[in-house]
Amino acid sequence: MIQREEARGKWDIITGNHAVAHAARLARVKVVPAYPITPQTTIVEYIADFIARGEMDAEYIRVESEHSAMASAIGAAAVGARTFTATASQGLLLMHEVLHWAVGARLPIGMAVVNRAVGPPWSIHVDHQDAISQRDTGWMIMFVSSNQEALDSVLMMYKVAEDDRVLLPFMVCLDGFVLSHTYQPVHIPDQGDVDAFLPEYKPKHWIMDPEDPITYGNLVMPDQDYMEMRWSIHESMIEAKSVIKEVSAEFRDRFGRFHGDLVWKYRADDADVVIVTTGTLASEAEEAVDVLREKGENVGLLKIRSYRPFPTEDVVGVADGRKLLVVIDRSISFGQGGPLATDIRSALFTYGVDTPVVGFVTGLGGRDITYEDIAKMVAIAREKASARELRPVEWYKLKKG
């Protein structure tokens, strides 16, 4: 992160969930359908507290499930309200069907996903399987590595989502407990500065009006516009890549902070070996890079911030001419391998880049992965690559093997 000193606002030491709640308040969100689930619960509790204290002017809807939370969010966004909710794990899975409906309606709903393992067996600890499982819904999916980045990303992503070129919902994903319940210094921007950056949401594409009723999502036949609508979602998702870059640059100019745009690079420009990962594994990997550099190894980091849209061009640009990519996934596509590694191999093959990729799956269910583990994975990857033993997936830190 790049931080300029003179930004207006105040510093506080708060959890990731508290930072996200501040972001919803600063974005002047008007409707919050809320359903509790660990480790997300304190986000909606902080928001309830803001509303009760009169610090936030929003409708707070206590719904009966996450499925209803997203359905309520769609209704609220359809009448033109900036809408926010938060969930995790099983709650996100229960929303799955409705996530598609939010996309089809082209509603820029904002959501925080506090990444948690998916059962069975029950686990409340960090794992990206919940968000990764929503890959093909058409939601923009962004992973963050610090509490500050969580706050700033919610503000930035509303601006991206509401852009006429995008009009898609977004989820900002923060690692359960590692960020959600961990205190870090966070700069809370000035409300006036946020208002100037993020003006009121005024939808132009459509709005639901009881005086002039319309139906959303009616039946279509194969020769009608179903396929064109899917195509337009994909095109907008591609367009979102440049909008994310524009908005990240504007945020840097206004607030003096930059966390990267689609990706974040750390000591990558002259690196032979590039670690590619996301979430708090990426902030941990920065430490690994420093340690390995001290030992004379030319290692750098490419952090994937935006998982959807996928930063294909940035990945290809960084990978081209390197000796090795070490990709670390905190989720698994059973029967294939790590989702990030799979997307990266696809990007490289498409553009004819033959940099070897060693993809690790590790840290599932909150198994702790430190910078020392990441340095070990780099060493294993070097061995695999020099022996030409490239496989779809390498498991790291299994109890057996």
Partner: protein, 88 residues
């Protein structure tokens, strides 16, 4: 140029998915001798096909009534009978 954003919304129009009355298996029949014109049936009808007829009693639009039976279930005087649809 940004892609044209297409949202699947449509204004209300009659019979947009055809004559839904064809789906009916049981037909609700209102017995006027028991009807007290409380309009509970019309309030509960999910298809909004019960309206006031020329004689002042509730009248059902059988073109679109799906025969769900909610009106018969809710009627406080049991004035609505569900009669099996039989091909003559």
């Amino acid at each position: 140029m940004p892609t044209e954003i297409v949202v699947p919304v449509s204004p209300p129009s009659e019979a947009v998915v055809g004559k839904t009355g064809l789906w009916r298996v049981f037909r609700p029949v209102i017995h006027k001798d028991k009807c007290v014109k409380c309009w509970t049936c019309a309030l509960y009808c999910m298809e909004d096909v019960i309206d006031e007829g020329p004689d002042g009693y509730p009248t059902i639009d059988y073109e679109f009534c799906k025969g769900c039976g909610i009106c018969a279930n809710e009627c406080p005087t049991k004035a609505i009978e569900m009669v099996p649809e039989v091909r003559e």
